[in-house]
């Protein structure tokens, strides 16, 4: 049955119907094509029978059945489709699947290399038990250069940028191992904590490809970091189950294999998992909703409530903040968490959307965190002379200032946006522009502190 001349409005109607149908996740493009063929045939038959195209379209759509019911039937028959989106093997769409597979092979190869790198110092007589300091200090070097390499390869980075990245890693490698830091000393502990933060910037430059200069490129990196963290935690959980299970069955056979875990499985797995997790995030970024912003949404009200209660308690009881040893660290952590909540809410927010209640909540959280931190800072600054400048205290104080500046100006920009005097893009831009400051401060702690405070 040949269809008569299809008019333009009818084509538009069919197009709309098709796009409605295509939105159902259980109905794939091939099914839409099959159903569309049916619809057109039906319309053709009805118009031949004397209906106008409009009427024919309505009748044909009605006969096809309600879309909800239809997609429910498809979902029942193809329930795997709703889940398949969570798994990487996509059967439709040839080229992307091949890309994903190729990336996967490269990522796994790099993960194996990372695992081997972890064991490499062993060949030169370093032992994971006795040279803990060496391993802790150099841990990022087993993984980050490979991760950077992965993105250099994937994004096809310019040679000039690659040279800068290599230079960055080489210099960091020298600095990290140059100073004769006392194992277990404060300065070394700080260096161990801060080196990954500084080096993460290099990974970011590679990740962003040529877009590091742009807000969007850096924001993508922020998203990537959040998702990577979540995937890594999930893989670590799986690894924990695997380890526990392996230990149990070998125990049953009367074999103790703890040495294997400590020397091989855990360190090699931890290194390789970073790259595998990075690949997963890359492959899935468009497939499922990002988790980090969801978590940010859940925890923003909760943190706001906690800080509110805390400040309320201070006011009611008339207590000041007791400057015990770790209190500044606690407030640093608070600011980091607030920054994370802000960053991931910002990263997922539609820049064009008008201010809403969640923005108000976000500002409340920001302001409360700033007030809490100001109280803590004031208490510390007032008594810093008494305590003296130890490396830990200076590091904590410096971090606090860096975070405070970031959050305070964010609060200003956010308020401006809510009042309609500024754009949301300005806030986003500020957040992303500020990112290198963290890396620079971290680099300073690694490279500068031993010079200032000695090697203890």
């Amino acid at each position: 049955m040949s269809s008569p001349e299809l008019t333009a409005p009818l084509e538009a109607q069919i197009e709309r119907w098709r796009s409605y149908l295509a939105r159902r996740r259980a109905v794939h493009a091939v099914d839409v094509a099959e159903l569309e063929d049916h619809l057109r045939e039906q319309i053709g038959a009805l118009t031949t029978a004397g209906l106008s195209t409009d009427e024919a379209f309505l009748v044909a759509v009605k006969r096809m059945g309600e879309l909800d019911g239809l997609s429910r039937e498809f979902a029942r028959e193809h329930s795997e489709r709703l889940w398949k989106q969570l798994v990487l093997t996509s059967s439709d769409g040839g080229a992307p699947a091949r890309d994903v597979r190729r990336d996967g092979i490269v990522a796994f190869a790099l993960a194996v290399v990372a695992a081997m790198l972890v064991k490499m110092p062993g060949l030169f007589g370093a032992s994971m038990d006795s040279d803990e300091g060496f391993y802790a200090q150099n841990a990022p070097f087993f993984v980050f250069p490979l991760l950077t390499g992965f993105f250099v390869w994937k994004r096809g980075l310019a040679t000039r940028t690659v040279r800068w990245l290599i230079a960055g890693f080489v210099i960091a490698g020298f600095v990290a191992n140059l100073y004769p830091l006392a194992p277990g000393g404060h300065v070394m502990a700080l260096a161990i904590l801060h080196l990954p933060i500084a080096l993460w910037l290099l990974v970011g430059v590679a990740y962003a490809g040529g877009r590091w200069a742009q807000t969007a490129g850096r924001m993508d990196f922020v998203r990537f970091t959040g998702e990577l963290f979540i995937y890594y935690v999930l893989i670590a959980l799986g690894g924990g189950v695997l380890t526990g299970f392996t230990a149990m069955i070998f125990e049953a056979a009367g074999l103790k294999i703890e040495w294997f875990f400590q020397q091989w499985l855990v360190p090699c797995g931890a290194a390789g998992a970073v790259i595998v997790a990075a690949w997963l995030v890359e492959a899935k970024q468009s497939v499922i909703e990002n988790m980090a912003p969801v978590l940010a949404r859940i925890f923003t009200p909760l943190f706001t409530a906690v800080i509110l209660v805390f400040l309320g308690t201070l006011v009611v009881t008339g207590r000041g903040v007791d400057i015990a040893r770790n209190v500044l660290i606690a407030f640093d952590i608070l600011l980091v968490l607030v920054l994370g909540l802000l960053l991931y809410s910002v990263s997922a927010r539609d820049t064009e959307a008008p201010p809403g209640p969640f923005d108000a909540l976000q500002i409340t959280l920001l302001v409360l965190a700033l007030v809490a931190d100001a109280i803590a800072l004031q208490a510390i600054v007032g008594r810093i002379g008494e305590f003296g400048f130890t490396p830990n205290r200076v590091a904590a104080l410096g971090e606090n200032v860096v975070l405070l500046v970031n959050l305070a100006w964010s609060a200003v920009l956010y308020v401006r946006f809510v009042r309609g005097r500024g754009s949301f893009a300005a806030l986003e831009q500020w957040q992303t522009r500020y990112l290198p400051v963290y890396a620079i401060w971290a680099a300073f702690v690694v490279a500068g502190f031993p010079l200032i405070f000695g090697y203890q």
């Binding site: 049955m1 040949s2 269809s3 091939v30 099914d31 094509a33 099959e34 159903l35 063929d37 049916h38 057109r40 045939e41 039906q42 053709g44 006969r63 096809m64 059945g65 019911g69 239809l70 039937e73 498809f74 029942r76 028959e77 193809h78």
Partner: protein
């Protein structure tokens, strides 16, 4: 006369298999054929045929292939497989048994609604 949903659902498999046993076909033509065969008594919601076809394909009774219709459009044709043919025979045997049973009982008790079965209660 409206045939109940359950009955339509139950008869869909043998109907589709039987139609495809006649010749290879596609969704719209299958529905048209069902309408002709049933004298209009069996009315399917058109879209619902496709999940059924996909299920039969998954079970291996039929096989799909994309072809080009005389209108030049892409069209998905279905063909009965050997497994489908033996399944059709099984279905036929089952339906024969069911209809024979019903005919047997309806031959002896003529009045379903007159209530001779329940009158004594």
């Amino acid at each position: 006369m409206d045939i109940s949903k359950d009955l339509i659902a139950a008869s869909s498999t043998p109907l589709v298999l039987a139609i495809l046993a006649e010749e290879d076909s596609y969704g719209y033509a299958i529905i048209k054929r069902v309408r002709e065969l049933s004298g209009g008594h069996i009315e399917w919601t058109d879209g619902m045929l496709y999940p059924v076809l996909h299920r039969l394909e998954r079970l291996g009774y039929i096989k799909a292939r994309w072809g080009v219709a005389e209108t030049g459009r892409q069209r998905k044709y279905y063909r009965l497989t050997a497994t489908g043919r033996s399944q059709l025979e099984k279905e036929q045997a089952q339906w024969h048994a069911v209809t024979a049973t019903l005919r047997g009982i309806w031959g002896t008790t003529r009045f379903l609604t007159a209530g001779p079965l329940f009158a004594g209660a």
